[in-house]
């Protein structure tokens, strides 16, 4: 109950500043352009495709690249959204409203997380309108499309969890943004160089676990990776809040 109260407050507050509107507008604009150029490219090679026996479809050539670009843009943008979650409250002294209210740290952290997740859900919903609009003119592989959207949503949920944790570490939103961007980028590229696919370090890569899903292969191992990733960072955030009450 309290979690929901905090989450809704967080979600509404986001739209009281221009930040959320700007992020939505800019990302939609860029992604719309990507979407448009992918369609253009598809038309250019359409005639050749018909000659191929097992040709890739609309989803493979338009939707998957679109979601790929979206995930990279959000890798850069989500730290800007998550940076203020806890650090700004700490800096402005508003955190003490929550700390002296009869709610515990778990509720505060989960509330903040869910509030940001609602925003990410809104983003994915808006973005999904682009591929879904294709179903007006052609038959869309809905399974593949939703698998891709699920991958994007899981990625954003993971970005949010990591950003929330970074935001709990410092009272400076800028530092929170830079460090969560650094962390996400590192996790994104960590499997590079490990061309011999299956070493342990590359297992931590966000890219490695999201790429199959974007192509339409939902593997429980990948799902488990994201769930564990999210739980780990949310729990770390709660621990961090607890220890700040002790040490400060």
């Amino acid at each position: 109950m309290m979690i929901l109260t905090i989450a809704l407050r967080e979600f509404r507050s986001m739209f009281l500043s221009p930040l959320a509107w700007t992020v939505l507008a800019v990302t939609q604009l860029i992604l719309a352009w990507v979407f448009f150029s992918q369609i253009d490219a598809f038309f250019a090679i359409q005639s050749q495709l018909t000659t191929l026996p097992n040709a890739p479809g609309v989803v493979d050539l338009i939707v998957a690249p679109l979601l790929q670009v979206a995930s990279i843009i959000l890798l850069m943008v989500s730290p800007l959204l998550t940076m203020r979650l806890l650090s700004e409250e700490r800096r402005n002294g508003t955190l003490s409203l929550l700390l002296s209210a009869p709610v515990n740290n778990t509720e505060i952290v989960l509330g903040k997380y869910l509030g940001m997740l609602l925003f990410m859900l809104l983003f994915v919903t808006l973005l999904s309108l682009m591929p879904l609009s294709l179903s007006v003119g052609t038959s869309l592989d809905l399974g593949k499309t939703f698998s891709g959207l699920l991958a994007l949503l899981l990625l954003l949920a993971a970005f949010t969890a990591a950003g929330l944790f970074m935001s709990s570490l410092t009272a400076s939103p800028v530092i929170a943004a830079i460090s969560s961007f650094g962390l996400l980028l590192l996790l994104w590229i960590i499997d590079r160089g490990g061309e011999q696919a299956d070493n342990i370090i590359s297992y931590f890569s966000l890219l490695k676990h999201s790429a199959p899903m974007l192509r339409g292969i939902i593997d429980t191992a990948d799902l488990a990776y994201f769930v564990l990733f999210i739980i780990t960072f949310v729990v770390l955030t709660i621990r961090q809040m607890d220890s700040q009450r002790l040490q400060n």
Partner: protein
């Protein structure tokens, strides 16, 4: 049973001991003035009281509920205004107070009423739709107080509530605190000593983490007679003559031909008698009262030089 009971509270920052074995109690109807120089541990104590900081050792009971064991139940009875009002600048006063009420488990149908009452008490009735960020400092402070009382808690903790306000606002806030004090227990931290004298019925002073003074206000007022008088005469005698009066310990001359007599605690009557007998033409005879400020300065300055002060709760106002 007391509203708040703090027992042997200790708080370390690293190896630095910010609060050292502080104990006190608060009852309904009490307005407890909490004084101390900057960095003495006032805010730390208050933060611990409100669950923002965990104590290193000790016990805090609010409404006889242990704050550390059952924080949720204990915090329901608590309203806290930190030094910096915890107000979200992008929200309107109404939105903010509704949120604060929700956080304190006020049932949905009762929220409107609770918010309206808090606004009315803090003089915010006209400002409900304004953004907190656009309000003046004084009004933001009021929003902070409204936030602390919206769930009508038994205990209200106010950390420097009148900082940055103009004199009229200060008076309004003081009236509000007095009004609240009738039905709640209030802990008030401030640097303004006359404010404590005007508002509080109990006072305690903390210095270097230790409680060095705790007394009822009435007790303090009784001990105000200090035996020091400010006098002025139409035909003033010399300093020597005054010095030779049997009950005078020390005389110093002050501005405008006035003298300060340090006596062995005689009443003003003796001095006026002598003045009449000697035909000095007594113009003014004012007993100097010992103010809270003097107590404060004495305690906080002496304890700086003499760090191994005795007991933690020495209630000496001699």
């Amino acid at each position: 049973m007391s509203l708040v009971s703090v027992n042997q509270l200790v708080r370390y920052y690293g190896s630095h001991c910010a609060v050292d074995r502080v104990s006190f109690e608060l009852n309904t109807g009490d307005i407890l003035g909490f004084l101390g120089p900057n960095g003495a541990g006032k805010s730390t104590t208050m933060q611990m009281l409100c669950g923002n900081l965990a104590p290193s050792a000790g016990e805090i009971r609010i409404n006889n509920i242990d704050l550390l064991d059952k924080p949720r139940a204990a915090k329901l009875a608590l309203g806290y205004l930190p030094e910096q009002p915890p107000a979200y600048k992008e929200l309107s006063v109404d939105e903010y107070l509704r949120y604060a009420a929700q956080l304190h488990h006020i049932k949905r149908p009762e929220i409107g009423q609770a918010v309206a009452l808090a606004k009315q008490r803090c003089g915010l009735s006209q400002s409900g739709r304004r953004l907190i960020g656009n309000l003046s400092k004084g009004y933001q402070q009021r929003v902070g107080i409204a936030q602390a009382i919206v769930h009508s808690p038994e205990v209200i903790v106010l950390d420097e509530p009148t900082v940055g306000l103009d004199p009229i606002q200060i008076r309004e806030i003081r009236d509000l605190i007095t009004e609240l004090g009738e039905s709640h227990g209030i802990i008030l931290s401030t640097h303004i000593l006359p404010e404590v004298q005007a508002l509080c019925n109990r006072v305690q002073i903390i210095n270097q983490g230790r409680l060095v003074f705790a007394a009822e206000m009435s007790e303090l007022l009784q001990k105000q007679e200090t035996g020091i008088f400010e006098v002025a005469f139409a035909r003033a005698p010399t300093l020597d003559t005054l010095n030779q009066l049997p009950y005078v310990n020390r005389v110093s001359s002050s501005d405008y031909g006035r003298f300060i007599l340090h006596t062995q605690n005689v009443s003003g009557e003796r001095i006026s008698q002598d003045a009449v007998e000697n035909n000095w033409g007594l113009l003014r005879l004012i007993p100097t009262q010992r103010t809270l400020e003097q107590v404060f300065v004495e305690l906080t300055l002496t304890d700086n030089t003499n760090t191994d002060g005795a007991d933690t709760t020495t209630a000496s106002a001699a």
